[in-house]
C-alpha cells in the first residue's frame, strides 16, 4: 500500500502540533530568557552581562573623545574616570601624568602614526556628555544589576545635561532592578536635594540608604570597611542637609557619625566646631534631638 505524500505531510503536521501544545507550557519554564522584557535578554540570555562591561567602557572612551588606552598600553587599573567624575573627583596634575599612557614615541613609526591618532587627554563638556548616554543605556540593558551604570548615567543627566526627570527615571529603573542598592538611593537623594531642593524626600531617601548599607554589611566587617566611604558620603550629605535646614543638633550628630569612618575626621571636626560656634552665637529654635 502506498501512502499519499499529502497524507504523510498532514500526519507529520498533526504530530508536530500535538507535541507543541503538550511541550510548550513545560518549555516556558526551562529558561527565563523568553520572559525577558528587553531584546538583549531574549537574544543572549544571561550571557549579555559579558557585554555590559564593554559598553560601560565605551561610555568612558566617549567621555575621553577617543583618547583611551588599548589592551596593549600598560596602565594602572583603577576606577573609570566617568565613575570618579560622578563622585566629584577632578584631575590633578599627577592624574594627568598618569593618564598619559602613550609616553614618548618609541620609534619613527610610532611618532608618525600619532599624527593620525587622538593624542590629547580631554573630557566631554558643553552638553556633549549626551554622547555617552547610548552606551550607558545599553550597559544597563545588558546587565541591570550593574549599579554604577545607573549612578553614573544619572549624574551626567542631572549635573551636566540638566535633565533631572530622565535622571530620576533612570535611577528608579535601577532601583527596581536593585531594590537594596544604597548607592542608587544615595544618588536619588542627591537628585532630590541638589536638583529638586526637596529636603524632606532627600532626607528620607538617604536614611533609607543608610538602612540598606547597615543591612548589607551588619554581618560583614570586611565589606563594611571596604565600603565605608559610601557610608561617609551618605552621613556627610545628611549632615549638610540638616545644617542648611538649621537643624544644628542633628547636623552635629551626622558629622560625628561620619567622623568614625572618615579618612579625614579633623576636617569634619572643623565643621562641627563651626556649627557649635553658630549655635552659641544664635541659638536655633530647631535644636531638636537627633533621630
Amino acid at each position: 500500500m502506498k501512502a499519499s505524500p499529502y497524507l504523510v505531510l498532514a500526519l507529520v503536521l498533526t504530530v508536530c502540533f500535538t507535541l507543541a501544545t503538550g511541550i510548550e507550557p513545560r518549555a516556558a519554564s526551562w529558561s527565563s530568557r523568553n520572559k525577558s522584557n528587553n531584546v538583549f535578554g531574549v537574544l543572549f540570555g544571561d550571557g549579555r552581562r559579558i557585554f555590559a562591561n564593554q559598553f560601560f567602557t565605551m561610555a568612558d572612551v566617549y567621555f575621553h573623545s577617543g583618547y583611551y588606552p588599548s589592551v596593549f598600553d600598560l596602565r594602572e587599573e583603577g576606577q573609570k574616570e566617568i565613575v570618579e567624575e560622578s563622585h566629584g573627583h577632578t584631575d590633578s596634575p599627577e592624574d594627568e601624568i598618569k593618564e598619559d599612557f602613550l609616553g614618548k614615541p618609541k620609534d619613527w613609526i610610532d611618532r608618525f602614526g600619532r599624527h593620525f591618532r587622538i593624542t590629547k587627554h580631554t573630557h566631554l563638556g558643553g552638553g556633549n556628555e549626551r554622547e555617552m548616554l547610548p552606551w550607558l543605556r545599553l550597559a544597563a540593558d545588558m546587565d541591570p544589576q550593574k549599579i554604577e551604570t545607573y549612578t553614573v548615567g544619572s549624574f551626567f543627566l542631572r549635573e551636566h545635561l540638566n535633565r533631572p526627570r530622565e535622571a530620576e527615571a533612570f535611577l528608579r529603573e535601577g532601583l527596581r532592578n536593585n531594590p537594596n542598592s544604597y548607592e542608587i538611593l544615595f544618588e536619588l537623594g542627591r537628585l532630590y536635594d541638589e536638583n529638586y531642593h526637596d529636603n524632606d524626600r532627600a532626607r528620607d531617601v538617604w536614611l533609607l540608604a543608610l538602612d540598606r548599607w547597615d543591612e548589607q554589611f551588619k554581618n560583614d566587617p570586611k565589606g563594611a570597611k571596604e565600603n565605608k566611604l559610601a557610608y561617609e558620603g551618605i552621613t556627610v550629605h545628611l549632615a549638610q542637609l540638616e545644617r542648611e535646614a538649621g537643624n544644628w543638633q542633628q547636623a552635629i550628630h551626622w558629622f560625628q557619625i561620619a567622623q568614625k569612618v572618615s579618612p579625614d575626621p579633623n576636617a569634619l571636626q572643623q565643621r562641627i566646631d563651626e556649627i557649635k560656634k553658630k549655635m552659641a552665637a544664635q541659638p536655633s529654635p530647631t535644636n531638636s534631638q537627633p533621630y
Binding site: 618609541k106 608618525f112 602614526g113 593620525f116 548616554l133 547610548p134
Partner: protein
C-alpha cells in the same frame, strides 16, 4: 596605458554587475538607519554612536569589497580560459596586473564614495554639520590603504589556488595589522629574546595600515590631519602597493596559466 584602462574598465563593470556591493551597502544602510532610530533618553541630538557604527560598517564593507573583488580576478580569468585570448593580444603580463589593480582600486573607490555620501547625509542631517574636508581626508586615506590591500590580495591570488583562501588569508592579515600592528613595538618591549627581535622585525616590515584609519577623528570631531602627513602617508601606501605589485608581476610572469 590604454590597455591598462581598458582592463580596468572591465573590472569596474564587473563590480556594478555583481551583487556584493549592493548587499553590503543595503546592510550598512539598514543597520545605520535602525541604530539612528533608537531613542536614548529622548535626546535627538545624540549622534556619535551612529557615526561610529556607520564608519565601522563602511570599513568592513570596503575591505570585503576590495578583497573579494581582487582575489577572484586572476583565478577567474584562468578558470574560464579568457586569459589566453587576452594575453594573445598585445597585452603584457605587467599590463594585465596593472589593469586588474587599477580596476579593483577604482571600483573600490567608487563604492567608497557611495558609502561616504550616505554617511555624510545621515550624520549631517542629525548633526547639522558638514565637515567635507574631514570626509575628504578620511575617504582619501582609506582609499590609499585599500590600494595596499588590493595589491596584497593580487599577490595572494597568484600564490594560493582558490579566491576564498586568498580572501580569508588577506582578511586575517589586514585585520591583524589594523588591530595589533601599531602595538607590536609595545608588545616586543615586554618579550624575552629572541621573541623581542622577531616582534620588532615584523613591526618594521609590515605596512602600517592603522595610520590610515582616522575614524576616531571623524567620529569625535577632532579636526583635520596635517595635509603634509596625508601626502607622506599616501607615498607610504604607494610604496607598499608598488612593492606588492612588483612581487605579483615577478611571480606571475613565469607562472603557468594552465589550470
Amino acid at each position: 596605458m590604454n590597455t591598462i584602462w581598458a582592463l580596468a574598465g572591465i573590472v569596474i563593470k564587473e563590480l556594478y554587475r555583481r551583487k556584493d556591493f549592493y548587499v553590503l551597502f543595503v546592510l550598512t544602510a539598514l543597520i545605520t538607519v535602525a541604530a539612528g532610530m533608537v531613542n536614548f533618553f529622548d535626546d535627538p541630538k545624540i549622534v556619535r554612536y551612529v557615526k561610529d557604527i556607520c564608519m565601522l560598517l563602511i570599513w568592513i564593507s570596503a575591505l570585503l569589497i576590495a578583497l573579494v573583488t581582487t582575489a577572484r580576478q586572476i583565478p577567474a580569468e584562468r578558470e574560464s580560459r579568457t586569459i589566453f585570448p587576452l594575453l594573445a593580444k598585445p597585452v603584457t603580463r605587467g599590463q594585465f596586473i596593472l589593469g586588474k589593480f587599477f580596476g579593483c582600486w577604482l571600483a573600490t573607490g567608487m563604492a567608497l564614495l557611495v558609502f561616504y555620501v550616505f554617511f555624510a547625509i545621515i550624520t549631517g542631517s542629525r548633526e547639522q554639520n558638514w565637515p567635507w574636508l574631514m570626509y575628504l581626508q578620511a575617504i582619501w586615506l582609506q582609499w590609499a590603504m585599500l590600494a595596499v590591500v588590493i595589491a596584497l590580495s593580487l599577490l595572494g591570488s597568484i600564490i594560493t589556488a582558490a579566491p576564498s583562501s586568498t580572501t580569508t588569508i588577506c582578511f586575517i592579515a589586514v585585520a591583524g595589522i589594523l588591530l595589533v600592528g601599531g602595538h607590536l613595538n609595545t608588545v616586543a618591549l615586554h618579550q624575552p629574546q629572541p621573541l623581542q627581535t622577531i616582534f620588532y622585525t615584523i613591526y618594521f616590515l609590515i605596512p602600517h595600515l592603522e595610520w590610515f584609519d582616522i575614524r576616531d577623528r571623524v567620529v569625535y570631531n577632532w579636526g583635520l590631519v596635517d595635509w603634509l602627513d596625508c601626502v607622506l602617508a599616501t607615498l607610504y601606501a604607494a610604496a607598499f602597493s608598488g612593492l606588492f605589485l612588483l612581487l605579483t608581476w615577478l611571480g606571475f610572469r613565469r607562472k603557468s596559466l594552465n589550470t
